[in-house]
Every structure is written in C-alpha cells, then in structure tokens.
Symmetry: C2
Subunit: 456 residues, 2 copies
C-alpha cells in the first residue's frame, strides 16, 4: 500500500461506526476497536469519546491506551479532557504530549490542575518545557498563550536561494508554517514572504522584494479576541507575535485563530441566553445547574419587579378580569422584539459594524423600526381585541400599549448592549435578562396603566 | 521608501480617522480623502463606508472613484454592496473586478440583479467569464460557488525539483495557495503536499513521499456549511473540489471557509432570536421591519394561546386577584430556562456534539437539571410567596408550578431543536418562539390550574 493510498483511506465518522465502536468496547474487543478507530482523524476519535457514556469512555481508554497520541488529547473537548487525562496512566499522557507543538501543549495544560500540569511538564524535553512555561507566563486568553514558539525566520537581506537552502538544512520545522518571517539583527519582524512566492521566484531574488503588502504583528499580551478579529478582518494566514520591545517571540496560525473565533461566537450565543460560556452538551446535570441557576435566580428577582407592577393594579384587574388574560400578549411580543434588536446589536458590536461613528443612526433606526412594528401589531391586536370583547376601548388600550412597548423593546435591545460595551463590559453578558425585564415591566405598566386611565 | 517600510506602514482604523474622513468628505477634499484612506486595508475602508451615512457614502464614492479596486468591493457588507455598485460608473466596477480571483467575483455577482451581473460579466476576459459562469451554474451556497478555479497541480510522479521548476516558470499563480495537489492523468486528486514540505525537501525527492496523512476532497455540489464544518473539524488550510466524476475543478481556501463559518454563526444567532438571517445593523428601518415583523406577528398568535389559557381561569383570578401578579414569575423564569437549554442544544447540533448517539443521555441530563433548578427556585419562591402572602398554600402552588415549568422548559429547549433537525429543518429556526410559547402556556396552566385545585 503506498502512502498516497493510505492517505485517501481516512474515513468520515458516521453513526453506524460510533455504534460499532460502542459494541466493540462492550465486548472488550481490543483488535476490533483498533480496526474501527484507526482510519479516523483524531478530531473524529475525540467526537466518539464525547458521544459515548462516561462508563464506556473509561473502558475505551483502557482498551485503546497504547494508541493515544497528542493530537487526540488536543482534539478532546475541554469539558471532558481533564477526566480523560486523569484516567490515563501518567506515562501515556507524557509520551502523547511530547510530539505536540508548544501551543497545543499549553492549550492542554491550561485546563488541568497544578499536579497534573506538573506531571506533563516533567515529561517534556527541557527546551520544550522552558518554552511551555514561558508561554504559560502570559495571561490566560492572550496571544502569548495562543502562539507557537517554533518560527521560521530569515535575515532581511537573504535571497530566495539562501532561504531554500536554509530550510532544506533545517533539522526541525513546525508542522504548519505559511510564511518566512524577515527579521532585523535584533529579531524585530520586518515583513513576511509567503511560501508560494518563495517557490515561484528565482533563487537570486532578494526576499525583501517579495514581502506581502499587508503585514501585521500582535503583541504577546494582546487579547485573543483581538487576534481573532485581526485574522478575520485582514484574512491573515499567520501573524508574528512580538514582545514589548517588538522582538519576535512566536507566531499564531489561522487554525488557532479560527478556534478562538468559534469560541467567541459560542460565548456570545450562550451569554445572550444566560448560560455560563463554558456550558457544553457533555456536562453532567450538576455542572448544568451550576451554569444556569445563577441567572434563573436573578430572573426570579427581576420577574418579581413585574409582579410588583401588576400588584399595583389589582383594583383594575378586579374590575375587568379579562385584562389579566390580555396583559401577557403585550409583554411577550415586547420580549421577542427586544431579543431581535439585541441579537443584531450584539452581533454588530462583535464584528465592529456598530461603533460610536454610527451608533446614533442605528439607535434612530431602531426607534423608527420599533414604532412601525408597533403600529402594525397594534392594528392587528387592537382590531381583534376590540371585536372579541365588543369594546373598542379595550382594543385601543391594547394598541397603544403595544406601540409603547415595541418602541421600548427596540431601543432597549440596542441601548443596553451599547451601554455595557461603553462601560467596558461584554455587551452579551446579562443583556437578555435586562432587556426582557424591561419589556415585561413596561408591557404590564403601559397596558394596565392605560387600562386604568381609559377603561375605569 | 523601500517596500518593506511601505508594508509596515499600514495603519489600523480608529474612530478619529473615521471622523477625519467624514470631514474631508463634507469638505469635498479629494486629496485629504486619499491621504487618509490610502494607508488603510481594504477591509477597513469597507468598514468606513459601512459606518458613514448613506449621503456621505455617495459623496465619498464620487470623490474616491478612481481608487476603488476589487478588494474593496469584495470587503463591503452585502447589505450595502448593491447600493455601492449601482452608484459607481460601470467601467469603474468592471475595471475593479478584473483583478479578482473567480471566487471573489462570484461572491460579488451573487447578490446583484441580472442587469448589473451582466455588465460585470461583460467586463471580464473571456477565460475568466467562462470560469465565473461555470461557478454560477452551481447552486447558491454550494462548494462550487465558494471555490477558486485557479489551482496548482502536479502529476503524481513528479519530484520536488520538477514542481519547483514548474512553479518558477508559471506565468500566473493564485494569490493564495498552500498546497500542490497531486493528480492522476484523469485529473483526479490523489493527495497534496504542503509548500513547507516542498521547500524543505531535496530536489530529487518524489512528491508522493511528502503527501499529508490527512487528505480530503469535497464535491462541488456539497453545501458550504458542510465545507466549513470539514475545515474546522480537520484543521484544513485548503481543500480540493471535485466534480461528480471525482475530477479536480477547483480549490477552497481557509479564508473562505472561515467566512462561511462566521456567517453560519450569525445565522444561528439571528434565527434563534427570530430575525431574518440577513439582518444587519446597516439596514434601514423598512428592511428591519420586513425582517422582524413576521416573527412578531407569529408571536402575537402564539401569545394569544397564553391569553386563552388564562381566560379559562378568570373565576380563579377573580377570587384571588394576587394570582394575576404572581403568574408571570413562573412563566418568565420558564422562558429563561428554555432559552438556556435551547442555546446549548442548538450550538451542540451545529458543532455535531449532539447526535443520535448521545441524544438520549442529553435529554435525561436536561430532565435532571430542569428538576434540580426547579426545586432550587421553588424553595426560594415558595418560601417568599408563602411569607409575603402569609399563606403557605400560595407558596406551595408557586413552588409546584415552578418545578413543573422548569422541567418542561429544559426538555422543550432540547427536544424542539432535535425534532426540527430530524425533520431536516434548521434547528435554530423558530425554536425560540416554540420554546417560549411552550413555557408561557405551561407556566400559566400549571400555576393557575394548581391554584384552582389547591386554593379555591
């Protein structure tokens, strides 16, 4: 079998294979497990581990122990990685991490407790250990944690031929590199050249004539969300990382940036929904309760605000009990409108489409859209309410309350995240609770208040 | 000034510069605009265009017309791209798109009306036009639309030296390429070699000894969301695209896949919030109303369900009017819990962490978490309600209704998207409305139903 055939044979994971692997694990059939798992990419093996039950997972690890490599450990979801590393013998883990690039080792270490970290660090070569420890010295979530320290550099005066000879002679090259970074004698990056350009240029061509027009570096202390933004905005493939003096200390590649972007999205989506950003479908019930209960308790208190507002109008409700049935319509439609406006605003803040340059225009847009939606909904609800209760004044109160609350919802949805952002907080955090509390309270207040004025 | 210095001078966009550009536009100062805009990356110029008012935008385009290139058109948000292309003279657009790769031309054409498309196609060289038309023949949102047709291939029997000589002699190479794809005589891809490996190997080395272990191709008709998943899951940098016969027709690079991933996230987030997935902070009020009103009207009807349920209990509310104030607490806390469970489930379905292999376990997890959250909230609310109303039975009714609704919310949040997914629909679509309707109706029903049984 040639290497090329071996390469093509990597299979996709499907549900039948997951089932077959489970059966093989239940039957403790080591050979069958290996036959089923071997053709899979490490990312798919990790998915299998995530999808099977915890008990099956332990059995699988025992049976498959000998084949576990660093790539597999890297791919496993953070929510179960610690469990898996604890379940494996220390020497298996040590052997597995040895062939990873420093950024992947750091990624694994970050989520472990100190003793487990220590065991893995012990297993590394001294050079790798120092590199990993230096990376861990940068703050969590910084470019320094994300970068690999293995860089491919050339002095800025080299030619294409010199660079190629140097690369051919190099004992070790990173798994992934897309540029040769040109540095000055003090290791400050001066530009970079894509490998494609080096390959297609004549050997005598100076590298500095081939540098990319667009060249950016980030400082190691920069936040990873900023790094993800830069990659996405400027379509970077790799980006040199410098220390405070501007000297090259590492490089971040697009796969890491894509990962961060993916996590940022997840964070936004989960935070908007009021779930801890580390929530995973793989968590157990207790972890789930820990992530969700705090927001539910907060909501219990904010919902009591609505209850308080309603309780002020008990006389009105006693007089016309139908109002009790109608009031949630105004509040709930307001909640939906607030969520709509909020989702668009949070997304636009994340992509930096909403800035102070256009905030005023966007707020005015929300105001008009809220008023228009309110009038359309008011027409439907007012007509239906007036007809059903054979009382045009009930229809009128419903309609007016709806317009007020739609405007409040549209404005709240954009003003709450804008305010949080200006205060230096995450605009997604808690926005949902703020906005729905606002629309609930305003919905009940507008409806019952108007009803008291008009109908009594 | 050397090229390297020019490269380093590209500046980041900040708000002061946006302000300065606006002032220059207002002053019709062509030179000042050029000075301010030239050091910016095309992506940042596009952001400026997006952030300024429509009237300023038209003035800017008139003054900056001569400098507009294809990269800038590519970077502009779809929501205003058509407006901008219409505002520019046809020959400016034609000239601008001429230097783009086919995938970028296709991306621009997709969103234009037929006459505007025709004008741009006319401007292309015949070879490019054919390539673009072939790409446009693939369905929207397919790999065929996403790929660039400019590929770098080598016969599978070549050596490193032959490949390098071929690249050096090539008249045209794509802007971005990271692999040389090995093809058989019928143009079927057999593997690929990274440029890094080619650069570091001896000239006599056969390419087939350097191919990557992990090699995947996609068919041109594959959906782009699948393509984004494959890039993210397997950490690909580029991926060859084949026709139905397995012959190479193009290649997709990671920047395009990252773009799709970003759009998919946006879609999920906006759909969950009940907003059309093309919603942008740049849309005008009318476009905003068009995106949002349909879901608001649907919600008006689903909210009427809650109103109907409440109206069945008017006798109970007349007897104890305090119930009207308390009932939204149970419903609203249920809504939050449903949204939490839903966000985690939709995210897990998108990343394929939730499959039929573990669906049962996840549903049971939600059931337990819902019950635990319900009991915790019931304890707080039951105690508070009992004390405030000096009636333990009101507390008991609140507590029981809370437990029921928390369980319904947790289960609904995972079962609704699972069901939509199994029906072949987007699990994010309409899930939010379903789940909050469910928790509202169940919240009112459980609370008022139990109150009728226990308190009357």
């Amino acid at each position: 079998m040639t290497e090329i055939e071996a390469a093509v044979e990597e299979v996709e994971l499907d549900e039948a294979r997951v089932e077959a692997i489970r059966e093989a694990v239940d039957a403790r059939d080591r050979d069958r497990i290996r036959d089923l798992v071997e053709p899979l990419h490490a990312a798919d093996i990790a998915d299998v581990l995530e999808q099977i039950d915890p008990a099956e997972r332990r059995a699988f690890l025992q049976l498959y122990e000998g084949e576990i490599d660093g790539d597999l450990l890297s791919e496993i979801d953070e929510s179960i990685r610690e469990e898996i590393i604890e379940a494996l013998p220390a020497e298996v883990v040590a052997e597995a991490v040895r062939d990873l690039d420093t950024d992947d080792v750091v990624d694994i270490l970050e989520d472990l407790e100190a003793p487990a970290q220590g065991r893995i660090l012990q297993a590394l070569d001294i050079a790798d250990r120092v590199a990993v420890e230096q990376a861990m010295a940068y703050p969590e979530g910084s470019a320094g944690r994300l970068m690999q320290r293995e860089v491919v550099v050339a002095p800025e005066h080299w030619t294409v031929g010199e660079a190629i000879d140097h690369l051919r002679a190099a004992e070790y090259l990173p798994d992934q590199f897309y540029h040769v970074i040109l540095v000055d004698p003090r290791m400050k990056p001066q530009g970079y050249v894509t490998l494609g350009r080096i390959l297609s240029a004549l050997r005598t061509k100076p590298l500095r004539d081939l540098t990319e027009d667009s060249f950016r570096t980030v400082e190691a202390t920069e936040e990873e969300s900023e790094v993800a933004y830069i990659f996405n905005q400027y379509h970077l493939i790799s980006c040199p990382v410098t220390d405070a003096d501007g000297r090259l200390v590492g490089v971040i590649t697009i796969d890491d940036a894509m990962n961060v972007l993916d996590e940022e999205h997840e964070e936004d989506m989960l935070r908007l929904a009021g779930v801890g950003e580390e929530a995973s479908v793989l968590d157990g019930p207790l972890a789930t309760v820990r992530q969700r209960l705090p927001w539910l308790v907060i909501n219990l208190f904010t919902a009591s605000l609505s209850a308080f507002v309603i309780s002020r109008f008990e006389a009105t409700i006693t007089a016309i009990v139908a109002l009790a049935a109608l009031m949630p319509i105004v509040a709930s439609t307001g909640g939906i409108a607030g969520t709509q406006s909020l989702a668009v605003a949070v997304r636009a803040l994340a992509t930096r489409d909403l800035t102070s340059a256009n905030a005023r225009r966007v707020v005015l847009r929300e105001l008009s859209a809220g008023a228009l939606n309110g009038m359309a909904l008011a027409a439907i609800l007012g007509l239906a309410g007036g007809l059903i209760f054979a009382d045009p004044w009930i229809g009128a109160v419903l309609a007016m309350a709806m317009i007020v609350n739609q405007i409040v919802a549209a404005l709240g949805g954009v003003l709450v995240p804008l305010t949080l952002e200006r205060m230096g907080l995450d605009p997604a955090l808690a926005s949902g609770t703020f906005v729905t509390t606002l629309t609930d309270v305003m919905g009940f207040l507008a409806f019952l208040g108007l009803a008291t004025l008009v109908l009594l």
